[in-house]
């Protein structure tokens, strides 16, 4: 027998208002589960990518930079902003004990004007000493980075071999990096010569004013890899004590801020998801109980026409599953319609690393949400199904219930 011809399907179709309300409820429940799982999973993937991308143990920045708004996002996630210190600090840092690798970076934000293709963070680095950017470039294209060559983040809509203009200077895109789910995906990396030329061009155009700062002898931050056998905390304390007017940070401690925010958001999403599921189950349970109470006579008639007790409970369970599964499918579609096209704006509003899972993972999540929806429907209807299988037809038909 076809599903559409079954008694359960006809019962669902025959009570459009009740079915529509239950359907909407399961749609909301499933959509909340899919959106919640996808958001939490994207946030975790984003944090993982950020951790993998930061190869440095310690970061040294000018002491004045710490008070800058959005400071952590500038150094960790490539958000737009800049600060400078004299390049002599690089030598001072490199002289300290326990340092295996040290590499400087210089920041510049491009302008939101016709002279620049896009407003973004430009990061100048030294390819000879670098140990944080180069491994990711090799993954993308490889080769050495010449003057006016740039390496772009994964989210920039420019192709390798194409050009991009900053402060009137045309740069060639030499490579593209892997995705991190942070603003680093929209940052541009270039060598120190090129960024200094871009700074000079921005000053010539009157777009930047460096006042007493000499861009040729400045760095924004110094990245450090601690040598084996030296505790990171000891090297950190040594740097904070002996390299004055700078502030050194352990990158893992900086990420812990992002990680704490992530766990806060994850807990909040988890609580909301549980609340929606519990509320959904309670409402479905009440709806099925009330519906079965109303239809006791209908089930009694079915019973005396030969339907077994198992058949009666089967009808109730099938109705619940029809509503739960169709609501689950629609809810999953609604969630995908929200999460897939609007993930950019979700990322922007959360302000944390956000890396969407791949298609296979999304399919698994949707299947899990469908299973949750079906399980909730079955759990809510189980009590009613058990009650209806034990009805006393005589009492009900006499109207003594």
């Amino acid at each position: 027998m076809k599903l559409t011809e079954s008694l359960s399907f006809r019962n669902v179709k025959g009570r459009p208002a009740r079915s529509a309300v239950l359907l909407i409820l399961t749609v909301i429940m499933t959509a909340a589960v899919v959106c919640g799982i996808m958001t939490v999973s994207s946030l975790r993937a984003g944090l993982g990518a950020l951790e993998a991308r930061l190869g440095a143990d310690i970061m040294v920045v000018p002491a004045s930079a710490v008070s800058k708004k959005n400071f952590e996002n500038i150094v960790l996630q490539g958000s737009m902003g800049y600060f400078y210190m004299d390049s002599s600090y690089y030598d001072k840092v490199a002289e300290r004990e326990g340092i295996e690798k040290v590499s400087p970076q210089l920041f510049l934000a491009s302008a939101s004007a016709g002279c620049c293709s896009v407003p973004l963070q430009i990061i100048g680095y030294d390819p000879e000493t670098d140990f944080t950017v180069s491994p990711w470039i090799k993954k993308s294209a490889g080769g050495t980075l010449g003057d006016y060559d740039v390496v772009v983040g994964n989210d920039l809509s420019v192709f390798v071999g194409g050009t991009i203009t900053f402060y009137g200077v045309e740069c060639k895109v030499a490579a593209k990096l892997d995705k991190t789910g942070t603003d680093l995906d929209t940052a541009v990396y270039t060598n120190m010569n090129t960024i200094k030329k871009l700074i000079a061009s921005s000053i010539e155009m009157g777009m930047n004013d460096f006042r007493d700062i000499d861009p040729d002898h400045s760095v924004s931050c110094i990245l450090i890899k601690v040598a084996d056998g030296y505790p990171v905390d000891e090297v950190l304390n040594d740097l904070n004590l002996h390299v004055r007017r700078t502030k050194s940070f352990r990158t893992k401690d900086m990420i812990s801020g992002v990680s704490d925010s992530l766990s806060g958001v994850s807990v909040m999403i988890g609580v909301l998801m549980c609340a929606v599921i519990i509320l959904g189950i309670v409402i479905l349970f009440l709806a099925f109980t009330m519906s079965v109470n109303e239809r006791k006579k209908e089930f009694a008639v079915l019973r005396i026409t030969g339907a077994s007790r198992k058949k009666l409970s089967g009808i109730v369970m099938s109705e619940a599953l029809i509503i739960a599964l169709s609501g689950g499918v629609i809810g999953t579609a609604v969630a995908l319609l929200i999460m897939l096209p609007f993930n950019g704006i979700i990322e922007e509003s959360i302000g944390l690393p956000f890396l969407m899972p791949d298609a296979l993972m999304i399919a698994v999540m949707c299947a899990a949400a469908l299973a949750v929806s079906a399980a909730c429907g079955a759990a809510a209807a189980a009590y009613s199904a058990r009650r209806i299988s034990r009805i006393d037809t005589g009492v009900i038909l006499r109207g003594d219930n």
Binding site: P341, G344, E348
Partner: protein
């Protein structure tokens, strides 16, 4: 009552067309102008969607107030128009280079989703109207 029911599809289309037309200017617009007053290309995609949105509003009104044949024809006309609207940002008129910009994160997905819903609603409405006409024959 029957006439009212048959035109309900037109009302749904009108509401969605108004959301598209007003939304692209007020809720999910393209990126603002540069500091020097020049516009990025996404601005012209916004203008194009706004223009087509007005056309979709007019078509929806024709579905509501027009005769049965006119309404069925107008519903059919709304389908390709909605599809073109969905293709307007990025495919027909390129947006900003950075996918994190507002035209990519808000305008493009909103226009695609609403246009797809308009196309689906128009297809259902035209199918219902044409089937009714065939049944009467």
């Amino acid at each position: 009552m029957k006439k009212l029911r048959s035109r309900a599809g037109g009302a749904v289309l009108l509401i969605m067309s108004i959301i598209l037309t007003c939304g692209v200017k007020l809720i999910f617009p393209a990126c603002p102008a540069h500091d020097d007053g020049t516009y990025m290309s996404c601005h012209w995609a916004e203008q194009a969607v706004f223009g087509i949105g007005i056309a979709l509003c007019v078509i929806s009104l024709i579905i509501i107030i027009g005769g049965e044949k006119t309404a069925a024809g107008a519903s059919l006309a709304a389908i390709p128009l909605a599809c073109i609207t969905a293709l307007m940002p990025e495919f027909l008129i390129s947006l900003c280079k950075m996918p994190t910009m507002h035209c990519h994160t808000a305008m493009r997905p909103a226009v695609i989703v609403i246009s797809a819903l308009i196309a689906a609603a128009a297809a259902v409405n035209s199918a219902v109207m044409l089937r009714k006409r065939d049944n009467r024959k």
